[in-house]
């Protein structure tokens, strides 16, 4: 078995173990929150008899560990259960939200990742020029502002003043692709502004770091043009850290967009998770949480694998 295969198998099994731990931690976390679903739904109108009826119907009168094992058994059979609050299948509840979240994340990523890497390369190429300073300043300003503020500023100028884009990013299964791209442009742009800086700065720093190596000096002395030095000689050796940062930001695009969803009323997973936590609807919380954890783990494993593959020394071992 090659080193890479061993590594992949090792990472994947560790990832699955992590998912178990995450699910147990989430369960404990929900149990620790004051009040249960029955109390949250009934709120001020809870009485002893309605609470008891509610709990009995949902099985909340069972001890916590039994409920967890019951849920776990279901998941191992591929059944994520039903939402306690609405009685709908969790998979059915999650489906459209998941699609929306992935759509927005992909939309933002497809623009942000190449843009950030290209800007980083150009900034390294024209280091310390006005271009470099300008790109850095813009990107850092965008990342320094909280997302909701960036969102509001975009709404103010692009929706209210200019009237070009809608303020509510409403999409559903009937929305066509172009329409969906148009309606969710503002949230996507907000996300792009928030994630570009990190990736761009990392690209720039990694390239500049490699540019200081003797072999680059050799290439330069041979008379290789500067752009070729960067793209052909520096970039391949700087890929590993860039890939890791890109993966981290892609994960953020999936799991960290709650605020942006709220500002634009975008029906994604974040809002579902917030609703589910506040009503203590643990099957939904678990499913969303597991999905987020899985995205995080998968992207990190992928980043490691690609880094290794991009590096011949690691690929072949010694």
């Amino acid at each position: 078995m090659s080193r890479l295969q061993k590594l992949v198998i090792g990472r994947v099994s560790l990832g699955i173990l992590t998912l178990f731990v995450v699910s147990a931690l989430m369960f404990v976390g929900i149990e620790l929150l004051p009040g249960d679903l029955a109390q949250q739904i009934l709120g001020q109108s809870a009485t002893e008899s309605t609470l008891a009826a509610f709990r009995a119907e949902l099985g909340l009168d069972q001890p916590a560990h039994l409920r967890y094992l019951d849920w776990l058994g279901g998941v191992l059979r591929g059944d994520f259960g039903t939402s306690l609050a609405s009685g709908r299948e969790v998979s059915e509840l999650l489906g459209p939200r998941l699609a929306n979240t992935m759509f927005l994340a992909t939309y933002a990523a497809v623009i942000a990742a190449p843009l950030a890497v290209i800007l980083g390369l150009l900034a390294a190429l024209w280091r310390n020029t006005l271009f470099d300073r300008g790109v850095n300043l813009t990107a850092l300003s965008a990342i320094s502002m909280p997302e909701f503020f960036v969102g509001y500023v975009l709404i103010l100028f692009l929706s209210i003043k200019a009237g070009v884009f809608p303020t509510l990013a409403r999409i559903d299964s009937a929305t066509g692709l172009w329409d969906a791209l148009y309606r969710s442009f503002l949230p996507a742009l907000t996300l792009i502004l928030v994630v570009v800086a990190h990736m761009m700065r990392m690209t720039r720093a990694a390239i500049i770091n490699v540019l200081a190596s003797p072999y680059i000096e050799m290439a330069r002395l041979k008379g290789v043009p500067r752009w070729r030095i960067i793209v052909q000689h520096a970039l391949p050796n700087a890929l590993a850290p860039i890939i890791n940062v890109v993966a981290l930001n892609l994960a953020y695009l999936v799991v960290g967009v709650v605020v942006v969803e709220v500002v634009f009323s975008y029906p994604g997973l974040g809002q579902l998770l917030v609703d589910a936590v506040s009503s203590r609807d643990f099957p939904v919380v678990q499913a969303v949480g597991l999905f987020f954890a899985a995205v995080y783990i998968t992207l990190n494993v992928l980043a490691d694998i690609i880094s290794i593959m991009s590096n011949p020394r690691l690929r072949h071992g010694r």
């Binding site: 001020q44 009237g163 409403r170 809002q271 009503s279």
Partner: protein, 522 residues
């Protein structure tokens, strides 16, 4: 978001005050100021609502936010509805009448009321729908109010008879409740809780909990002069800024609960008008009258004189409220007693009462949280400041939002709370002030009050009822443990083209959440 309601109670007002701002009195248009006389059919109404959650379902037992109240009223009729003048009027029922002791009520259904699948509404549909909220398995918020029903029976296809444990002249008011929309009997005396088939003016095209609901008008709706919009779309837009932006850019036509901090800017936008309703919503700081030091009436009076009500309305409610008089019956409700003298901020009077109680100064703890009502923490701190000159030292204790209603409310002797209001004094007093009421916040047990409550309930003579309720309001104000500093106003904003009748029902926001059926587009 978590929602809190009481049975037959007001829609949740949490977040109502979410941040607030001073507004020139000129903005407060008198109600009906922009009403137009002639309703007109047509148009699509797009609504942006604060509430609505992915955990919502069509099961009426679980309704607990505006999104579901408004959708429910559009699709399902109730036996009665509250008219703008505050009375209960027949809706799906054609008429109702009581026996002389008000313990037997007979409701006659309309002959022409049809469900959207063409079937006529019958007595067994009504019985199944009401029974859904009764019995030991029920998890419905209205269960406690239905416990007075000892028997429901059909008398033919069109008549339903309710037998009550004791006389209740206000019984028809209960049926206005959003829980009690009439569904079809599935054949075995139960309803399908997720049924979408109602007798209302609209049918559901799309229902995505926590996102949107889309309704289309039924051309064969049996009620004359109602249901004007061709289509209605309700969107959940939780963020106040997003809601207001959407109204300004014309993506929605109507929003509830605009942010009061910036509402003056919203009012300046072209084509936008602000609408306010007085309503029954009120804020309360209940003192438990069976716990020291609140068991001393003079201590309660001292605290009542120690709060600066005008200040609270100006600073916390940003002008969108009216002063409370320590009794829960509002001006818009039947039997309101307007002879009562308005209590005002008077540190000297507070000191006097404190001395009567044999005290120089008083130390009490006020439990508060923005879960009680948004702005409660600010209101509590303001109260503590205004009370200090009178020798009242109020220690404001901030409690966690989560679990506030189970761990603080009804548990701590002095806390903050709110009531969405009730349509009648009897419902208000018997849910919140009767000695045996589950939500007797003030742990009050006044012999005369309890006696009057029981006497007034079955009384069908209006003059005598008014006298009794008038006296009860006086007793609560002068002796009770309820410190009610303010009544809040319902505020909404809409496109100029949205029209409403001259008079709207003020009990809850937006024509008591029946705007879909009652309002129209210019």
């Amino acid at each position: 978001m978590t929602n809190f309601t009481k049975p037959n109670g007001g829609p949740n007002r949490r977040g109502f005050l979410a941040g607030t701002a001073a507004v020139g009195a000129g903005l407060l248009l008198p109600r009906g100021a922009f009403a137009q006389a002639q309703p007109k059919k047509g148009g699509t109404l797009r609504v942006g609502f604060t509430q609505g959650s992915t955990s919502d379902s069509l099961d009426p037992a679980t309704f607990n936010n505006d999104f579901m109240f408004a959708s429910g009223y559009a699709v399902f009729n109730t036996l009665t509805e509250i008219a703008p003048d505050g009375t209960a009027q027949p809706d799906l029922a054609e008429s109702f009448e009581a026996s002389s002791d008000a313990a037997t009520w007979t409701f006659r259904l309309r002959d022409n009321a049809q469900f959207s699948d063409g079937k006529t509404a019958k007595a067994n549909d009504v019985i199944a729908s009401i029974r859904h909220h009764m019995g030991p398995e029920s998890k419905s918020g209205i269960k406690p109010l239905l416990e007075q029903i000892t028997d429901i029976r059909a008398d033919g296809d069109k008549v339903v008879v309710f037998e009550l444990a004791a006389g209740n002249a206000d019984f028809p008011f209960i049926f206005n409740d959003y829980h009690l929309g009439i569904r079809q009997d599935t054949g075995d005396g139960t309803i399908d809780p997720n049924s979408r088939i109602g007798t209302g003016g609209y049918v559901i095209d799309v229902f995505e909990p926590g996102v949107r609901v889309e309704l289309t008008r039924r051309d064969d709706y049996w009620k004359e002069g109602r249901a004007h919009f061709d289509k209605v779309v309700i969107l959940k837009v939780g963020d106040p800024a997003a809601r207001m932006n959407a109204l300004m850019t014309g993506e929605v036509d109507l929003i509830d609960r605009p942010d009061l901090k910036t509402i003056n800017l919203l009012g300046r936008a072209p084509n936008v008008k602000i609408h306010t309703q007085d309503g029954t919503l009120h804020y309360i700081m209940p003192m438990q009258t069976n716990t020291a030091p609140f068991d001393d009436m003079n201590v309660r009076m001292a605290l009542k004189y120690g709060i600066n009500r005008e200040d609270m309305i100006e600073k916390v409610l940003r002008g969108y409220g009216t002063v409370g008089n320590d009794q829960p019956i509002s001006r818009s409700m039947p039997y309101y007693n307007d002879d009562l003298e308005q209590i005002t901020y008077d540190p000297e009077r507070a000191k006097y009462h404190l001395k009567q109680a044999g005290l120089e100064s008083l130390d009490v703890t006020l439990s508060t949280s923005d879960a009680a009502f948004s702005g409660a923490v600010d209101a509590s701190v303001l109260f503590a400041e205004s009370a200090r000159p009178a020798g009242l030292n109020i220690d404001v204790k901030r409690e966690p939002d989560d679990g506030y209603w189970s761990n603080v409310w009804l548990q701590k002797p002095f806390c903050c709370s709110y009531w969405g209001g009730r349509p009648t004094p009897d419902l208000m007093f018997s849910t919140g002030y009767a000695a045996d009421a589950e939500w007797n916040e003030t742990k009050w047990d006044n012999e005369r009050f309890n006696e009057l409550l029981l006497q007034a309930r079955p009384e069908l003579d209006q003059t005598r009822r008014a006298e009794m309720y008038g006296e009860m309001q006086k007793i609560v104000k002068e002796q009770g443990g309820a410190l009610i500093p303010a009544f809040g106003q319902y505020v909404s904003a809409m496109n100029e083209s949205v029209q409403m009748p001259e008079e709207v029902s003020e009990m809850w926001d937006l024509d008591s959440q029946r705007f879909i059926e009652r309002w129209w587009m210019a």
